[in-house]
């Protein structure tokens, strides 16, 4: 048996440890699905910022894909501002499937429409177009390069329409304050 001070120290450590556990249980909880969707919406919208010119409808389509829809397939250039080359249409379809499997939220088709509705009528158009592309990707009998070509043509037809009529240019979204920069080794 050690000196009385040892027992006291041990008891104190136990108490502090238990207190930390209680605090953790009281404060850490999963976010509700609605809040999660809003936050992911904001995150994906942030990926659409290209030198202060966000592409809102693309961001909404990306979120719909993450939530379980196929609208991402509508993106002719994949998610905006990415460092890599644009994905092939087949890859975009795979990405949408992977996002669905990720189980972020089992959003219904109604919810997909609701999310896209937030991004204005342009988002609705993108949704319908994305569904058409997604449906084609699933149902076409073409294979390999032919399949990719077929999907690519349908997917890019929307972008060409946009370029022609000039009515669907991305809207400006306030970019807010400068980004926070990383900490150690990631200092501003």
């Amino acid at each position: 048996m050690g000196p009385p001070g040892d027992d006291q120290d041990e008891m104190r450590l136990h108490t502090e440890s238990d207190t930390a556990v209680l605090l953790r249980r009281a404060l850490i909880e999963d976010l509700d699905p609605g809040t999660t969707r809003r936050h992911l919406d904001s995150m994906v919208a942030a990926t659409g910022t290209r030198r202060g010119r966000p592409t809102r409808w693309l961001a909404a389509a990306g979120l719909a894909a993450a939530l379980g829809g196929g609208a991402l397939a509508a993106l002719p250039d994949g998610l905006p501002n990415g460092p890599t080359s644009p994905p092939a249409p087949a890859e975009a379809v795979e990405r949408a499937e992977a996002a669905r499997e990720a189980g972020l939220a089992q959003a219904s088709a109604d919810h997909q429409q609701q999310v896209l509705g937030h991004a204005s009528a342009q988002g609705d158009e993108a949704s319908a177009h994305g569904k058409a592309v997604s449906d084609l990707a699933r149902t076409t009998e073409a294979e390999g390069r032919d399949k990719g070509q077929e999907i690519s043509e349908l997917a890019s037809s929307k972008a060409e329409d946009h370029r022609k009529d000039g009515e669907h240019r991305p809207e400006e979204i306030p970019t807010g304050k400068p980004d926070d920069l990383p900490g150690t080794g990631n200092q501003p």
Binding site: L23, I28, M43, A46, A102, D180
Partner: protein, 180 residues
């Protein structure tokens, strides 16, 4: 739950703006980030959580490090967002523990007795702002002393002392409440 071995790949895919990877990072850290901001008494903890992850998205290409560094980086962003919010609102830190900002959860203490979220609320309100920040970064963010010292701009010894005093103070406030 840390991402572990899958973290490097998830990070790389998140840098490519892949929604599933961004969501994986979010799922991993959002509960703790929100808990930290709630514990700090942020006026709009959910909004600040969102701001924190938007900051993450915008800064991903500049981030360098492993998962532990990433976690620390995220709480650095959260802490700065909180500081910005307080500056905008012009409120003192000690005033920022509104009673309705805590989840209505019930937790059990080690003796099987039950204490509510009311305990966390009142107990944290009784700490000094420095103690609250340190104990939340250590306990909720689960950051090592060195990282807490860096974020708060204090010496590691000071962080340890603040942490110990904060936990001791919290422990004294545990008062079981019967569940009705």
């Amino acid at each position: 739950m840390p991402l572990g071995a899958s973290f490097p790949r998830t990070l790389a895919e998140a840098r490519r703006r892949r929604p599933d990877a961004l969501a994986a990072l979010y799922r991993d850290l959002a509960p703790a980030v929100l808990g930290y901001l709630r514990g700090q008494g942020a006026a709009e903890p959910e909004d600040l959580t969102s701001d924190t992850f938007v900051g993450m998205v915008r800064g991903l290409t500049r981030f360098r490090g492993d998962e532990a560094a990433f976690r620390s980086w995220m709480f650095t962003i959260a802490h700065r967002r909180l500081t910005d919010e307080r500056r905008r609102r012009g409120r003192r830190v000690i005033d920022l523990v509104p009673p309705d900002r805590f989840p209505e959860v019930v937790v059990s203490d080690p003796q099987g007795e039950v204490v509510g979220a009311a305990w966390a609320r009142s107990a944290l309100a009784g700490l000094t702002p420095d103690q609250r920040t340190v104990v939340l970064l250590r306990v909720i963010a689960d950051l090592p002393v060195a990282e807490v010292a860096r974020i708060t701009g204090r010496q590691e010894g000071a962080v340890k002392a603040l942490h110990r005093r904060a936990l001791a103070s919290l422990a004294r406030t545990i008062s079981p409440e019967p569940v009705s």
